[in-house]
Amino acid sequence: MSIMSIFKRLKPDFWDHGDTGTERFKHLFNFRRIWKLTVALTAGVALSPVISMAIFDYNVTHDATESEIVLRTSRLVSNSRRTVSFFLSGRKAALDFIVHHHTFKDLKDPATLTELLEALQKAFTGFTDLGLIDASGRQRTYVGPFKLVGKDYSGQEWFEEVLARGVYISDVFLGYRQLPHLVIAVKHSLPDGSFYVLRAALDTQQFNHLLSELKVSGGGDAFIVNRQGTIQTPTRWHGKVLEKMSLPVPGYSPETRVLQYQGVGGEPLVVGYAYIAESPFILMIVKHWDELMKPWYKTRKELFAFLAASITVVLLVILGVATYLVNKIHDADEKRVTTLHHMEYSERMASIGRLAAGVAHEINNPLAIINEKAGLIHDLFILKEEYAGDQKLIGLVESVQSSVERCGAVTRRLLSFARHMDVDSRPVKFKELIEEVLGFLGKEAEYRGIKVNVEVREIPTIESDRGKLQQILLNLVNNAFAAMADGGHLDIKVHQRSAESISVKVTDNGCGIPERDLERIFEPFFSTKKTKGGSGLGLSITYGLVRELGGDMRVESAVGKGTSFTVTLPLEAKQRKRLDT
């Protein structure tokens, strides 16, 4: 089914009414505009709170989700920072403890240092070597996998720093065994102003372990970079250890911070970071924004679905209600217009009646005088001897008299028509009635060569409204005449149908009515003659009149063959009390 035909089927009756202006009695309203206005207004009033609430809710939940993500990331960063700091400060404190509780002399002894290294390895995993460096930067004792005794560290950057700050934590570097290491060194000053440095190397396995154990939501990654952005612990997404990370190095901040970055592929990232005090490290926690927002996307989808469903339901209800109400108004207005038409029609018939009566009366009086004068002349010719004899004059007078008689017949018919404009139930002789009606249309039939055949079987006199019957017949015969070409044939048959009813059948051999129009033919305003000025009311009024008399009307038709209207009437019309009599 095409969209147009669906629309046609759904289209309410009022859609095409009220804005055409071609009808004689216009509808009071432009129904289409009322409908549109109603729909627009109610839809606006009903939907705007729903939509604005949805937008508000969207914003609130969206913002809440975002700040939740930031908060959680920030918390995770803080906790992890504490863990990392604790790891480093624990090892630093161990070295501090050693230098405070052993003399330089003790530590110089490789056996003691070996003992200490073993103890450290037991207590804290990861220590690989231990070295004692004197104030001149020379390594005095070394225990570990390499032979580094006597190595001079003076002038090296890390040595300068440990001298200046008392403690040093190195970046991660590849040691001699190609394993990532970091170095922690502490300086111990003696009361005499001299000092020495204890230096330990740690492999970073433990360090890495700290972070790899963290469960980071949102496809995230926790790792450490140094302040130059070199990656110190393994990361899943952002590069290899000891290479530059793919993200820019975040600016210094003493506190935990959360930023939003664009990833390499342009994907949005949430980056939480913290500078770890007294070390070159920055703890980074990087999460994928879209992953984190997934629950929110689901909520958003549900919100949109709910909104769409609400809007659809509200719109459907509004459309239904508006259509129903406007249809009701339309029906009422249609009824009003029909009544107006009906009234106008009856009014017009009554006016014609009054006019006919007036004309007949005015003509009747002079006609009566002519009649008497001509009669007198005729009498004189016939009865008085002094005028007698002239056959020619007698003929002339007789022709005047017969013409007067014809005029009299016409005026009597007019008067009779007018008389029956009033509504009342009285005995009606059908044959006379038909003749009276045909009297009005006889001339047209004659001019157009239409043959009218009237057949009235033996029927009882019926009690009915003569005026209405006249109108019914007049309309039917008029319609038949309109449908027929010149030289057509009209049949009027009246017979008794049952003990209580008679039937009047008016059959023409005119153009006929297409089947699709047949159902609608008694509807008000249905007209095929609209372009020719038909109001589309003739048959509907006729039908109304038949119903008023308690009868019924049927139609049969074949296109090109003709149409037949059958009016069934009760012998005694149901009396309808008229208010105005």
Partner: protein, 119 residues
């Protein structure tokens, strides 16, 4: 048969009266209701032919007045106006048989008058 014709159209009644006279009927005519009331004072009539619609007094009213003066008088109504009201009123006053519509047929009028007198 003595007939009084009453109609406001003088041309009509005068000719009608003459035509009736030619047929041996004693016909008198007047053009007003008051004329009619005066005329019956001086002459006796068997029957009156009255126009229903006349100025000042209707034929029906005139009939009542005449009947008071001459209880035996018969009446025939004539009208040029076949309105429902006239028709019904005349029917109750005179019966269908004595109600005629203009223009009149002289023979019909004479027949009706004879009938009225017999009835």
């Amino acid at each position: 048969m003595r007939v009084l014709l009453v109609d406001d159209e003088e041309e009509l009644v005068s000719a009608l009266a003459e035509r009736l006279s030619l047929r041996g009927i004693d016909a008198d005519w007047v053009c007003t209701c008051y004329g009619a009331l005066e005329r019956v004072e001086v002459k006796t009539f068997d029957i009156a032919v009255l126009d229903v619609k006349m100025p000042k007094m209707s034929g029906l009213e005139l009939k009542r007045r005449l009947q008071e003066k001459c209880p035996d008088m018969k009446f025939i109504f004539v009208t040029g106006h076949g309105s429902e009201d006239d028709f019904r009123a005349a029917l109750t006053e005179a019966g269908t048989a004595y109600y005629l519509v203009k223009p009149l047929n002289i023979q019909t009028l004479i027949d009706k008058m004879s009938q009225a007198l017999k009835g």
